[in-house]
């Protein structure tokens, strides 16, 4: 009897095997290679590569701008998802399709376009620069392109949750005496929180890894607008492969622990669903 498969859903061993193989080949193997390469450095060299003032400035910039961009996307993306689910208006389908565009467009193109828009004589720059708002070759520019690339992640995670929202709970809330604002704050927003956290995590992770668009808009000035991935490329151009992978390891470790925290937060926010 020991060989009897007691699971109701068939195919467990096959699919799990496939999952492990797939994740191993596509994710774990390259990451292991990074760690192996980085471990070719001595501890002293490793620290020397990853903990320079320039590198620290790059980490701070990468995570700082990614965090700000993801936060902006949570607000703007939720608003966009709200408009796309709650209202009907002409051109809604086109707007809906536009949301996915940042996923399809080479991000380098996005970065180039943003840069040309925000430079002093660009369409937007000629009005903004006199006001002291410089979108090109600044940290603001980095946040702008990261908002661009991260937007679809928040919209697409929040949208289905909004669509599934039971209109009766809102009616219940208003018949119990709540204002529209109270209904939004006490009933709608809390049910969106898990999706908002997931959307935040996705947009944040996407921003940390973003390279193509940032290269074109940031100007890549060390200590000012140089993000960590650009620093890695700079090391590679100097043929300092060990140092480059060392910085990658630091990025990986920080990203992984941050995503872990976000995931824990997300499952905590679902505690009532059991």
């Amino acid at each position: 009897m020991a060989s009897v498969n007691r699971r109701v859903l068939p195919g467990f061993s096959l699919t799990l095997g496939y999952t492990v193989f797939y994740l191993g080949l596509l994710v774990l193997l390259p990451i292991t290679a990074v760690f192996v390469k980085a471990s070719s450095l001595s501890l002293h060299d490793f620290l020397g590569a990853v903990w320079t003032e320039r590198a620290r400035a790059a980490y701070l910039l990468t995570f700082g701008t990614s965090f700000l961009a993801a936060l902006t996307n949570v607000v703007l993306g939720a608003l966009l998802a709200w408009v796309l689910t709650r209202y009907t208006f002409p051109g809604k389908r086109i707007l809906d399709a536009l949301v996915d565009l940042p996923l399809a467009l080479p991000t380098a193109v996005g970065g180039l376009v943003y840069a040309s828009l925000y430079v002093e004589n660009g369409w937007l720059g000629r009005h903004l620069v006199p006001l002291g708002i410089r979108g090109a070759y600044t940290r603001l520019g980095i946040v702008l392109v990261l908002v661009f690339v991260g937007l679809p992640f928040v919209v697409r995670t929040v949208q289905p949750v909004l669509e599934d929202l039971d209109p009766e709970t809102e009616e219940a809330s208003s018949s119990l005496g709540a204002t529209r604002w109270q209904t939004f704050a006490f009933v709608i927003l809390p049910t969106l929180v898990p999706a908002l956290i997931t959307g935040f995590a996705l947009a944040f992770a996407r921003s940390i890894g973003e390279y193509g668009s940032v290269v074109f808009i940031s100007g890549n000035m060390p200590f000012k607008t140089e993000i960590a991935p650009i620093l890695i490329v700079a090391r590679l151009e100097e043929f300092a492969y060990g140092e480059a992978t060392a910085i990658a390891v630091v990025l990986l470790v920080i990203s992984f622990s941050m995503l872990l925290v976000v995931n824990l937060l997300e499952s905590w926010s679902r505690r009532h669903d059991r």
């Binding site: 009766e168 009616e171 208003s174 119990l176 005496g177 809390p190 049910t191």
Partner: protein, 352 residues
């Protein structure tokens, strides 16, 4: 607090959900809106609650015109068929919600929530989440939530529709008792006549956006206003015949019908409830229909017998007491004679 509905109409596109409906709900009563789906009963309830806006007509609460009031200003407790509890809030938070949004201080709120938890017999479960409760428990929580802010009116939309049969029966009796205790004017929607009759003290029968009849369960059942009400209140045999000269005639059967003394014959429908039919072994003097026994179902307190009329091939349902069945010794294939003890005649366009 009484509710008065005057000339309310509501259209959804080209569909007329309510056509010039007027209704008085006396203060402290428990009234059922009963009708088939699409009869407008839920729309009427939602208009009373302010969740739907009437195209025409007015809604009054105790002489105060609340037609233009938003749902939140109506002081109405609404219970939804699928509970509509807030999943991310505990049971206590759900019940206290109406007090919280009205700015009742936390301690005062806690007292009321505990009181209601006791009332719905869920004391001690206040810190659970809705997902951890059964359907019947959730619906009780929804009821407590609706009652928390002491509404003037309690409205329930098919409150037992999503529950299984046993829980449904229990909750009905419990709601009846609860209403006796708290005496809040209540209106509930149902499509189940048994439920309406068991729970409500007044029944409103609706059809195609109109009210067909209003009355106590006994009035409605004993004196249905028209053929629809008779038909809708379940299980009835309909014989098609004619009326003339103060009589109604269905094939071999003649019954007195003094409401139609005219000599010219008119088509009419004769309605007989299954328990108002008598079965005999031989034809009766007053006239009877010959029929063949198809099936005898002796389970339950009343024996159900299915017959087929010999001349018209019409199916006839009869309910007998088990004693009468033993006396007759009926079995499938027997030929018997059926006579009504009581009939109701409805002449189209000539309804009594």
């Amino acid at each position: 607090m009484s509710i008065r509905i005057q000339g309310v109409s509501k259209n959804f596109g080209s569909f007329q959900a309510l056509a010039d409906v007027s209704l008085d709900v006396p203060s402290g009563s428990l009234l059922a809106l009963l009708g088939p789906s699409g009869s407008g009963k839920t729309t009427l309830l939602r208009i009373i609650a302010g969740l739907e806006v009437a195209d025409r007509g007015t809604v009054l609460h105790h002489d105060e015109n609340i037609t233009e009031y938003e749902a939140r200003d109506r002081k109405v407790g609404f219970v939804f068929q699928h509970y509509a509890l807030f999943r991310h809030m505990t049971i206590a938070e759900n019940i206290g919600y109406g007090l919280r949004v009205r700015g009742v201080p936390k301690q005062e709120r806690q007292v009321r929530v505990d009181e209601l938890l006791k009332l719905i017999r869920l004391d001690g479960l206040g810190s659970r989440y809705p997902a951890q409760l059964s359907g019947g428990q959730r619906q009780r929580v929804a009821l407590a939530r609706a009652l928390a802010a002491r509404p003037n009116v309690l409205l329930l939309d098919e409150p037992f529709g999503a529950l299984d049969a046993k829980v449904r029966t229990e909750l009905r009796q419990w709601l009846r008792k609860l209403h006796e205790e708290i005496q809040v004017t209540s209106v509930f929607v149902t499509h189940d006549q048994e439920e309406a009759f068991e729970v409500a003290d007044h029944v409103v029968i609706m059809n195609e956006g109109r009210i067909e009849q209003v009355g106590t369960p006994a009035e409605v059942f004993e004196r249905p206003a028209n053929a629809f009400v008779m038909d809708f209140l379940g299980n009835v045999n309909v014989f098609h015949g004619r009326v003339e000269r103060g009589r109604a005639v269905v094939s071999g059967l003649t019954v007195a019908y003094p409401d139609y003394p005219h000599p010219e014959a008119r088509d009419a429908a004769v309605y007989v409830r299954p328990h108002e039919l008598e079965v005999e072994r031989s034809p009766t003097e007053a006239g009877s229909l010959a029929a063949k026994v198809l099936h005898v179902n002796p389970t339950g307190s009343r024996t159900k017998v299915e017959l087929r009329a010999l001349d018209s091939n019409q199916l006839i349902n009869v309910e007998l007491t088990p004693e009468r069945l033993t006396e007759l010794g009926l079995k499938s294939g027997d030929t018997v004679h059926v006579a009504p003890r009581r009939v109701r005649v409805f002449v189209p366009d000539y309804e009594i």
